[in-house]
Assembly symmetry: C2
Homo-oligomer: 314 residues x 2
């Protein structure tokens, strides 16, 4: 079958090689090599140009190349009735957990302070903060959020999650909906955003959310880690909360505009860590297996797994 | 019962408060307040001065205040037949795991490179190294080593351990004795030393051990993390292996001399992280409970738990 590959960031050759190694019948093609749009049955897409997918008359499914589908749903001409499939991938979840555990530990173990002391050759014995005294709160408890919550819990953090409905995860407190948002924020020292970008979450994490975080924690002020989508947070509000001493630190992997503009104050803020949207990068080896398994389900008449609810936006 | 508190680093008041809160009958005393040495039944010690413990005629047990007992065993006048008890403490193991997981993730996720890029406002998209491609090897698989190995495994690292005898830990490869040392080192990208200080391990991790580490890994050269005892590694050999490009990084929490002398080249080495022996600091809340439980065992005629084998040194 012919699979159209559309991406403004990923390498065609890389993905093509993985497809070839897994299933010789899967034929990955680039846009410029398509002679007959009706030959394309599947699309594997990251940030497809508006209108492109609508021009494929026999398209059976659209697979997202990475976490989130906002980069597909913003095209308002998407062909009706063609299912959109999320990239659900344990590898992606492992990468995200590595990143969030790493940065929660840098914060709780005060590695930035220790680094500064090393520069000054200062040997200061201080009792470190214990992760078991630090309350991490994760916004968004889907496939990724659940996995991240479990790994933070394994290391010893006090973990809670907030999502639209309650989730049962052993030793992870569950908060749901608008009604429980305030209690969730008030028990949180490190807020982790793993929210998808939808019309409802656009600009959601700004002053009013951030200022409800706990001031009683062991970190000298709450911290914020943004790894879902940059359009969910408000960068001006984050900088303001850092500058007036409310927030103790921010770790941002996603931004309102990417790449982060050179003039952004985030780059040089002493209490901000900036990383270039690298927290959870799709591993072709893992995604290709799940795309091929899903195509096989469809071809034998079963229903696709991980289909996006377009109304909900994820 | 009277418990003598001996420490050159810990605060008496802090420990005294915890003892009072847990058992009002437990009376913690400082050396200068001891009128009658025969009134002391137990000692809780960190780095006790030579000969001090020998002057307590009715001593029933010596408890170590922190991980390791080398700081007690180096006193050659220790009273014969008085058991020495290790601090076995899940809290201590949790702290150690936090530290080792943190630094293995800083290495695998190349956070130091990302930090340097941030300073230059550089947005560079590069596929991060996956922890599942990084092989961590732990020397010393006692109570602490086992716990650290399990947490590294949970995050996704490929973990192996080396110890005097084989250990069974799910999904952690076990290597034992001199016969399997070379194979252990050859499969290791990040070497973690959790060895106790004994006559056998003194200066053990030097050029000949370090140069057997894997050069084929994904980190651009092997790395070394030292968290057991600084007397186990050879600092000149570490610096040499870093300077000639064999080692890619070193993370040291323990040193041949502590505090680390100001003149040490380790402080300012660009690929060395120095922390002030803070990886696993004893939490009085947790140690006091286990000391009191052990004293209760002895008082009711049961045998003590976690008694040190003095011959073996741990």
């Amino acid at each position: 079958m012919s699979i159209l590959f559309i991406s403004d960031v990923d390498s065609f050759d890389n993905w093509d090689a993985v497809f070839r190694s897994k299933d010789p019948r899967a034929q990955l093609v680039e846009c410029e090599d398509v002679d007959d749009p009706a030959s394309i049955e599947y699309a594997l897409a990251w940030n497809p140009p508006d209108g492109l997918l609508a021009r494929l008359p026999r398209l059976k499914a659209i697979f997202s190349l990475g976490a989130g589908v906002d980069h597909i749903l913003r095209d308002h001409t998407l062909p009706k009735g063609v299912p959109i499939v999320r990239a659900v991938d344990t590898n992606l979840a492992m990468r995200m957990a590595e990143y969030v555990v790493l940065h929660c530990l840098i914060l709780s173990r005060q590695q930035r302070r220790l680094d500064a002391q090393q520069v000054k050759r200062l040997w200061v014995s201080e009792l470190p903060v214990f992760s078991s005294d630090v309350r991490v709160g994760i916004m968004g408890l889907g496939h990724l959020g659940r996995y991240v919550a479990e790994r933070l819990r394994d290391i010893g953090f006090q973990v809670a999650g907030w999502s639209t409905g309650h989730k049962e995860i052993p030793e992870v407190a569950s908060f749901a909906g608008e009604g429980e948002l305030a209690s969730f924020l008030q028990r949180t020292d490190i807020l982790v955003s793993l929210l998808p970008h939808t019309p409802k979450t656009h600009g959601f994490i700004g002053t009013s959310i951030l200022r409800q975080l706990s001031r009683d924690g062991v970190l000298g002020g709450p911290a914020f880690i943004s790894v879902g989508r940059g359009t969910v947070h408000v960068e001006d509000d984050i900088v303001e909360a850092l500058d007036d001493g409310f927030l103790s630190a921010a770790v941002l992997d996603v931004f309102e505009r990417e790449p982060l503009p050179e003039g952004s104050p985030l780059w040089r803020h002493p209490r901000v860590t900036v990383t270039p949207h690298c927290a959870a990068v799709t591993d072709p080896r893992s995604i290709v297996s799940s795309v091929l398994a899903n195509i096989a389900r469809l071809e034998r008449g079963d229903s696709l797994e991980n289909v996006v609810n377009v109304e909900r936006g994820y």
